[in-house]
């Protein structure tokens, strides 16, 4: 367990984040509860329990009132043959963040901790960030009327505390700290798992040269990313801008030409019939 010092908070030159080791997650959802509690997130449906009906996981997804979500991935082939994959999901605090890229109000900012935070008093709820996030992290908070997600407990970081979820995690599945340290720790754990025979173990989002410049919340998985509901190659939304813009401009030019040619043809037809 890591507690950042006030020195960390003040200097703020280091990127901070999460390393989530899914192999030790027990699905207790303490992180979900701690997150809800600390951030004073409202209940859904007025607090009425709503069962998913097809899973023991009733939270189902991250959204504007669930900034942490423990996924239960049920891989069963018959009633007694299978396994549970548990993964505490959260905002990835991407180094190149799609939400931050598209936000038209400037509500989404990169902080001194290299985390990505939505300023709720600036957000106007246009929801562009929801569609831009490749991970489906952001959604509306119906009480605030703004888009919301994990802030990596920015308020706690500023006073030298670790995020509530990491603090509450009883198995240290969620580890918080400077990203460089977390990467080293993750590599050691990966090597350990491979040595123990768990060859499916892999890190997701730890590579600063990988998709989105790396994720400041990265994972150790024991199956393919898609099984955990994670895209294999997350990308920035702006990848389509140039091509889509060019095709649109070309189509507009063709339409303009058709309008002008039609006008000219009409004139020439009229002149011909007048002669």
């Amino acid at each position: 367990m890591v507690t950042i010092t006030r020195k960390h908070a003040a200097a703020a030159s280091e990127a901070m984040g999460f390393f989530t080791d899914t192999t030790v997650c027990i699905g207790c959802k303490a992180c979900e509860v701690a997150c809800k509690n600390w951030n004073q997130l409202p209940a859904t449906h007025g607090g009425v329990s709503e069962m998913s009906g097809d899973s023991y996981d009733n939270t189902r997804k991250l959204d504007g009132t669930h900034w942490r979500h423990v996924k239960f991935i049920e891989q069963f082939d018959g009633p007694y043959n299978g396994r549970w994959l548990m993964m505490s999901d959260v905002c990835k605090h991407c180094v190149q963040a799609g939400c931050l890229e598209v936000c038209p109000t400037g509500a989404i900012i990169r902080t001194q901790f290299d985390t990505v935070v939505i300023q709720s008093d600036v957000c106007n709820g246009c929801r562009a960030c929801i569609a831009a996030c490749p991970f489906g992290v952001i959604d509306m908070n119906p009480v605030a009327g703004t888009a919301q997600k994990c802030t990596l407990c920015h308020d706690r970081l500023e006073v030298g505390l670790e995020p509530a979820c990491a603090k509450a995690c009883p198995t240290d599945s969620i580890q918080f700290g400077p990203i460089d340290e977390l990467r080293e720790r993750a590599q050691k754990r990966l090597t350990q798992l491979h040595a123990m025979g768990e060859k499916r173990a892999q890190l997701y989002g730890d590579d600063p040269n990988g998709p989105l410049g790396g994720l400041n919340s990265f994972y150790l998985l024991v199956d393919e990313p898609e099984k955990y509901g994670l895209p294999r190659n997350p990308q920035l939304p702006s990848r389509n801008l140039k091509k889509a813009g060019t095709f649109s401009a070309a189509s507009a030019a063709v339409l303009g030409l058709l309008a002008l040619v039609g006008l000219r043809k009409k004139r020439m037809d009229e002149q011909a019939s007048a002669n």
């Binding site: 598209v102 600036v122 957000c123 106007n124 489906g136 939304p237 002008l260």
Partner: protein, 302 residues
């Protein structure tokens, strides 16, 4: 599976769908009016004036729809200005929703100016201030300049909505770069259709209407071609069309909205009504087909 299937839906539904439709139609109508402003004859003026009116009303309605759709409508101006640092503006050239907000504002400004000029031309302005503005832009070189710039903004507004969808991480929208092209073409065809239906009431001549009808015919052919390319570009995720929205796209957009009006070319008014229906259904299908894909179900393999 496309990586877009892991993203969340932004709930752009029953305010955004009519906005995309009306914004496209208004942009297309203004563009055609601007063409006639520059290259038309005096007997084309009723179409020009109708186009400006349609654009001005469309731009205002678009702005209202966009504002009402926000989670915090009173903060609509945060799209334009830095809320904590006035009067500094917010403008991101790489974010269509950011430059689109400016485009719709400027398009609204130009279309209202042109509409005032058109009303002054008809002597229908009673308010002295509005009459002064209308007279200043009426029938002069300034009107042509406004029409040229406003026409570009018109097509920009019609197109950027499609580009906005492409610049996301959502299934269908971000899986093809053709939505902007499709929407601008649909904006042109629905703009022409609106003028075909409304301009006769302002005294449009048969000659002007014939030009509009011919243009609409050609625009529909271009739209059909782009629609085919758009659907072909989505081949890797073709299963998304095995749904009600796929059926609606085929029957409502292609059948009723494009093929039927092409066949009804000799009856422009009937064809125009179908073009409008098709243009609306195009927005319905493209938005709701993607909105209906829930990421957590994909993640759980359902």
């Amino acid at each position: 599976m496309s990586d877009t299937f892991f993203s969340g839906a932004p709930h752009w539904t029953w305010f955004i769908i009519p906005y995309f439709f009306i914004g496209g139609l208004a942009g297309g109508a203004y563009f055609l009016a601007a063409i006639l402003e520059w290259f038309g004859r005096p007997d084309d003026r009723p179409v020009v004036r109708t186009g400006y009116d349609v654009a001005a009303v469309g731009a205002i309605v678009s702005g209202l729809l966009l504002t009402v759709d926000l989670g915090r409508p009173l903060r609509f101006w945060h799209m334009l200005f830095q809320s904590d640092n006035l009067p500094a503006v917010v403008f991101k050239a790489w974010s269509p929703i950011s430059f689109g907000a400016w485009a719709i504002l400027l398009f609204g400004l130009f279309s209202v100016l042109s509409a005032l000029g058109a009303r002054a031309e008809e002597g229908r302005l009673r308010n002295p201030v509005l009459r002064a503005v209308g007279s200043a832009v009426q029938g002069r070189a300034l009107a042509k300049v406004i029409a040229a710039v406003g026409g570009l903004f018109g097509f920009f507004v019609a197109a950027y909505t499609g580009v906005l969808l492409a610049v996301t991480n959502r299934p269908i929208w971000a899986d093809s770069p053709w939505l902007g092209a499709l929407f601008v073409t649909s904006g042109a065809s629905t703009g022409a259709a609106t003028l075909i239906l409304l301009a006769p009431g302002r005294g449009a001549t048969a000659r002007s209407l014939a030009w509009l009808s011919d243009f609409d015919f050609k625009a529909l052919i271009v739209e059909l071609l782009i629609l085919v390319v758009f659907i072909a570009s989505l081949w890797p995720i073709r299963q998304v069309w095995v749904s009600f929205w796929g059926l609606l796209l085929l029957v409502g957009v292609v059948g009723a909205g494009i093929v039927a009006p092409l066949r009804l070319h000799a009856d422009p008014a009937r064809a125009a009504r179908l073009v409008l229906l098709g243009g609306f259904l195009l927005r319905v299908t493209t938005l709701l087909a993607s909105e209906g894909i829930a990421h957590y179900r994909v993640a759980l393999g359902q």
